[in-house]
């Protein structure tokens, strides 16, 4: 069985992972573990998960994304999901999954701007 190979890049204090292929359930779980491990190793302040290439998001992957966001939050890291296609967003809501607690942005660029804003505000708050 394939091990998922989604590069998780570090840029400044942020991690960026772009999901380019349909994930099997096992691969989706491996991806979740890899993101959390990388947050721990790099002490990243923010993570962007870019889903521009995903044309289907079902309840399994939807829940994993909510889980990643919740677990990262416990580790003090903010997750922003970017690039949800309109068809994917519509389907998620009709399915009944609104991804509560998950921060989203239209595209990678807006996602990075949002992460900067959130992490700077957090830093001010903690000072």
């Amino acid at each position: 069985m394939d091990i998922v190979n989604i590069p998780i890049l570090k840029i400044e204090n942020f991690l960026i992972a772009s999901v380019q292929v349909a994930l099997y359930d096992m691969q989706a779980i491996q991806f979740k573990d890899a993101v959390l491990q990388k947050i721990y190793e790099t002490k990243a302040k923010g993570v962007i998960i870019d889903l521009t290439a995903m044309d289907v998001l079902d309840s399994f992957v939807g829940r994993l994304i909510s889980d990643i966001a919740a677990m990262a939050r416990l580790m003090g890291t903010t997750v922003v999901i970017t690039g949800l296609q309109p068809a994917v967003a519509i389907t998620l809501v009709e399915l009944g999954l609104e991804l509560p607690g998950v921060t989203t942005a239209l595209n990678l660029e807006k996602g990075i701007a949002k992460l900067r804003l959130i992490t700077e505000n957090n830093a001010d708050g903690n000072a």
């Binding site: 349909a22 994930l23 099997y24 359930d25 096992m26 044309d55 289907v56 998001l57 079902d58 309840s59 399994f60 829940r63 296609q85 309109p86 068809a87 994917v88 519509i90 389907t91 009709e94 399915l95 009944g96 999954l97």
Partner: protein, 135 residues
């Protein structure tokens, strides 16, 4: 001319992706729009995963159907698993026996135009759902 049926055997999580890709491909070549393609693919993903999780194995059959002038896509998900005792219960948002979210069945129904469940406890489950093309 109608496209030939596609039958996907569900035995692992890889087959869940294969089933939804087969349904999406057929929807696309029938001329369904991007949003309907996503609805169909997502519904099939939910039903195929239920087969894998609760029955262990089964089949998903995707076919092109016609009723008068309307064209549609039909998906039949069949298994010889434990069956469903209370169908109205599993159709409620949030009902789950597996610590899932309980969204798969009611969600798939919302995403499709027609949705029928036949199930006999101890014998298996057959779910037939359809999406019609807007003229």
């Amino acid at each position: 001319m109608a496209m030939p049926n596609k039958v996907i055997t569900i035995q692992s999580d890889l087959d869940i992706v294969a089933a939804r890709m087969a349904a999406r491909d057929m929807a696309k070549s029938m001329g369904f729009g991007a949003i309907d393609q996503a609805r169909i693919a997502t519904a099939i993903s939910e039903l195929a995963r239920n087969i894998y999780l609760y029955a262990g194995e089964g089949t998903v059959t995707v076919s092109e159907i016609q009723q008068g002038l309307r064209k549609g896509l039909q998906v039949v998900c069949e298994d010889q698993g434990p069956g469903i005792e209370d169908i109205s219960l599993v159709m409620q948002d949030g009902y789950t026996t597996s610590k899932g979210m309980g969204m798969g069945m009611p969600g798939a129904k919302r995403l499709m135009d027609e949705f029928e469940i036949e199930s006999i406890v101890g014998e298996g489950t057959k779910i037939t759902c359809r999406k019609w093309k807007r003229p």
